[in-house]
Amino acid sequence: MTYRDDIRFILNGREVSARDVGASRTLLDFLRLERRLTGTKEGCAEGDCGACTVLVGRLTEAGLIYAPVNACIRFLASVDGCHVVTVEHVSGPEGALHPVQQAMIDFHGSQCGFCTPGFVMSLYALWMQTPEPTEAQVETALQGNLCRCTGYAPIIRAAVAVSRYGTPAADHLTAEREAMTARLRALRDGRRVVTGPDDNLAILPADVDDLAQCLVETPGATIVAGATDVGLWVTKFLRPIGPAIFTGHLEALKTVAREADHLLIGAGASYTDCQSLLSQHLPHLAPYWDRIAGWQVRNMGTVGGNIANGSPIGDTPPVLIALGAEITLRHGSERRTLPLERFFLDYGKQDRAAGEFVESIRIPLPGASDRNAAYKISKRRDEDISTVAAGLSVTVERGRITRARLAFGGMAATPKRAAQAEAALIGQPWAHATFEAAAEALAEDFSPLSDWRGSAGYRMLSAQNLLRRFFLEQDADTTAPAQLATA
């Protein structure tokens, strides 16, 4: 088999073939330094500010989809086969301002202007998908964009008014959709791509089987999915990542589906890819999901990566563990499945052998007597890492708790179940006193750390209070609200 050795994509209107693309080369540096497309800015190089937002269009089963992403932590190799759209390509062919741009001007949405191209890109993507958004939808779309000058009000005013300036039907990306689809299709040759210098090799497997094969061949390679963790290893910690095996282009790894009594999530499915299926079948996760990172990161970051990364403060493990999720790991053609909580062995240590990868996550659907909740506490409500995260799931039969799975993040070196608190619930009546006892017991389950996100005391007290909140919210006799309403 011959490998391809260049990365091919379409940048704005033009096809690019980039050779010798090292694994750690970022899209942002490529745009700014090599192409001098300086409209895209660097504000943080860690995916948090959105100044570097560009659109990436990719071919999916549902057709060509454009999503805003952070160019700063997106690796150049990962845009193979995609259409990259920067702010320079937003105005019409004759330079006519785009509705989003005109609205931003008319509503005084820029002051220093440094964040503005990023906002324009996020709002452009929002308008394509939701031309007449509510304020709440705008806020969710802008969770990944920081502005230090305006206080956001004028930007929101502009965003809700954009549709008055024009509809997506008239947009040039819409007009060129078919042609672009054909151009992108033509870039696909079904070959493995191997590029970059020997010490910084980027490998794009041809398909999922080839991924398994690549990992067998290079078991020490870094797997790069959405790069929302790995990107920071490079941009913040200057860590070498080569050889790196990219998975983001493997659509087959992104499938999400309901199967009989469970949901099956491909390890490569992004947060956005899973969103509607999860909200439909596990409605308690809907608001929680919107609080994981910002839109750009949700478009890139995967559930598989969130798990495989093994962080004690990842948001998906606690809620998935509470639901009794299992993961399937694959090595070559061999697969094994284990309960998610068993995957996390210790701080920074997971039950994953060299050459193995996470292939899918299986989430059983709750039964009629199950009560589920997902809670996240963070210093700032949106786009912040959890101080404490909790997945709480109990079965209540005839007024008695028969099963309890309480999993917490931010409380220990790994995402972890609260065995003592669970024991305090099981067999007990559904009652205030039962949850008070569980809250007491939680103190024996964990001895959290103090850091900049929260002191040990705060972590413990708020985690205990989440059990109290759970009772109040699920209790039929309690009517007063037990948490701030979500947007």
Binding site: G43, E46, P117, C149, A153, S378
Partner: protein
Amino acid sequence: MKDTLTITGAAHSDHNHDSAVKHVTGRANYTDDIAMPEGTLHAYLGVSHVAHATLHGLDLSEVLAVPGVVGVLTAADVPGVNDISPTGRNDEPVFPTDRIQFHGQPLFAVVAETRDIARRAAERACIDCTPLPHALDPVAAQEAGYPHVTAPLKLERGDLDAGLAAAKNRIKGRITVGGQDHMYLEGHIAFAIPGEDDDVIVHCSTQHPSEAQHMVAHVLGVPSNAVVVNVRRMGGGFGGKESQMNLFAAVAAMAAKKWGQAVKIRPDRDQDMTATGKRHDFVIDYEVGFDDTGRIEAVGGTFAARCGFSSDLSGPVTDRALFHADNAYFYPNVRLTSRPMKTNTVSNTAFRGFGGPQGVVAAERMIEEIAYATGQDPLDVRKANFYGNEGRDLTPYHQQVEDNILDRLVSELEESADYRARRTEILAYNAGSPVLKKGIALTPVKFGISFTATWYNQAGALVHVYNDGSIHLNHGGTEMGQGLNTKVAQVVAEAFQVDFERIKITKTTTEKVPNTSATAASSGTDLNGMAALNAVEQIKARLVEFACDRWAVPPGAVRFEANRVLIGDEVLSFDAFIRQAYLARVQLSAAGFYKTPKIHWDRDKGQGRPFYYYAYGAACSEVTIDTLTGEYRVERTDILHDVGRSLNPALDKGQVEGAFIQGMGWLTTEELWWDDAGRLRTHAPSTYKIPLASDRPRVFNVNLADWSENRELTIKRSKAVGEPPFMLGISVFEALSMAVASVADYRECPRLDAPATPERVLMAVDRLRRGAA
């Protein structure tokens, strides 16, 4: 030529920011976007990994061995003076020689072919040092006997001890107020291009080009005339680029001269946040005496600040904290003292409000204390203590408050926000809601306008009218998003009566206007607008004289109106008239100048009139807190703010909205957190949380007090707007406090420290509940 009867961009109109189109299309160039000459090198700073140590030496051999590294710069390479302290105290080296003073302190710079190489190489230094004990905060510093970085200030009026002794009620307390990172979206950057002889041009993102110029000259050991500093625009400044750019400008310039090539330096966000200064944290001890109605009789306060290892601007910042420790309230007997403490942290600097907000927070805390002690609505306590007439109009620095409009402004806001009814509803709501609790607060601000360093209150401008009638405008102020260039161009458009578009706004450069002041203290438009107007008036006077001569009319018969000039019965287009003037050899260029009148300040005596006038405002905020987790949400904010006769209401409103959110962020989620080793752990947006779109109030009504007019002769009777509305964010902090107080039936002042993170809120709820139980 356009033939309408009005001009575009007249004074007081809602003209768009002059760069708006460039912003939204990505075509606005920032320093990092300037095309680099071939062979441009890149510098990066190597920093310390201890908070305090004796420095024996640096072994940079491994740094130099990295392929692509061109060389290093250390203290020994400084050709001139190894000092960049902005106030001439010589306490801030470019690179230290014998002592490391904070974690993350720049020790050397690497210069390499690419930024990536320089950045990686910088990590490879061997730093030979012996750690010393460190003190990170002002309390620890006082305990360890650390010195002040600059002389403290005392403000005194009346007799504090007698006043306290006579007061029926006295409360003593302490509040800790956190600092704040500027988190401008564009970080620091400097780009130096060497020239002939000693010359060097530095493009950088600075609010103070003249100071950067003088510092570069000082460090290079060359006269100021060899150095040109340019800045077209900044991606935000907020005070963070007033003095902090000096380091980067100096390093880029040194490297450019040493290697004879252009050199760019741009720290990453982590280094930007750890190696450059922030808003000062304060620990404030107060004592207030008051009567049973809540009227203040005496106030004593000590304001200890975390200044960091050097003075930087800590003198004027801590001074301003005292100037605003009265906020809007009359203190019959008062003594306020600053303690600008040296600490082993980065040297703190200017930030919107310049110490003022910390002072105001202290004033509002005392109001709260009185309100809880006397069982009153805090708004009533506020109103009872506003500055008034007859002997209630002297500030602690003996300036008379002559322009107070707070009675009217606050009453109007109280009404439009429906404060009283909502407060009643909230009290009822809280009584019936076990988990969620609400709070509401209406807080005022009075902010003094002028640099307290009196000589800073001067400005220059340069206006050219070319013989085709186009106009070139330059002034000493810098554009960081506030719309200064737009407003100054409006002033010029209005004065010449020509369309805004005719005026070319150009980069700020030390070549055109010398010896400028920082664009700071909200003074940009006040000073530069006046200087530009002065330049225009000079040109106009010559034009009028010319017209009188040529058309034999009296001066009163020459009028500039909407892109034309009326001379007696004759009507000429502006272009045609200018052409005539040119042919008649009229000088069509002028340098304008302005200095603020009336102000004076004797720091030793603590007396004078440091401020030309005051700007006022008030905000009413309502919040809901979750007493299980401490999380909260701002439900509604109403603002009424005074900008005098606004030069541009749209831009001014933008400043008010943005400042409010920034002030709210400071007091809520923006937390600077150092670990025991003295390392700042919240040093990037991933860990340091500024407000997002979803944090802004659910309902946000912002209005300008359009009836207000500056009683002083400022530019078009407007008032400065940059800083004052920052303090409107305090209304959120006070509302959170009320919500917390509800759990103990409003009997106890919750004494929240700032920032009121969800953790602080929950812990205060817990403390009050335990106390009440």
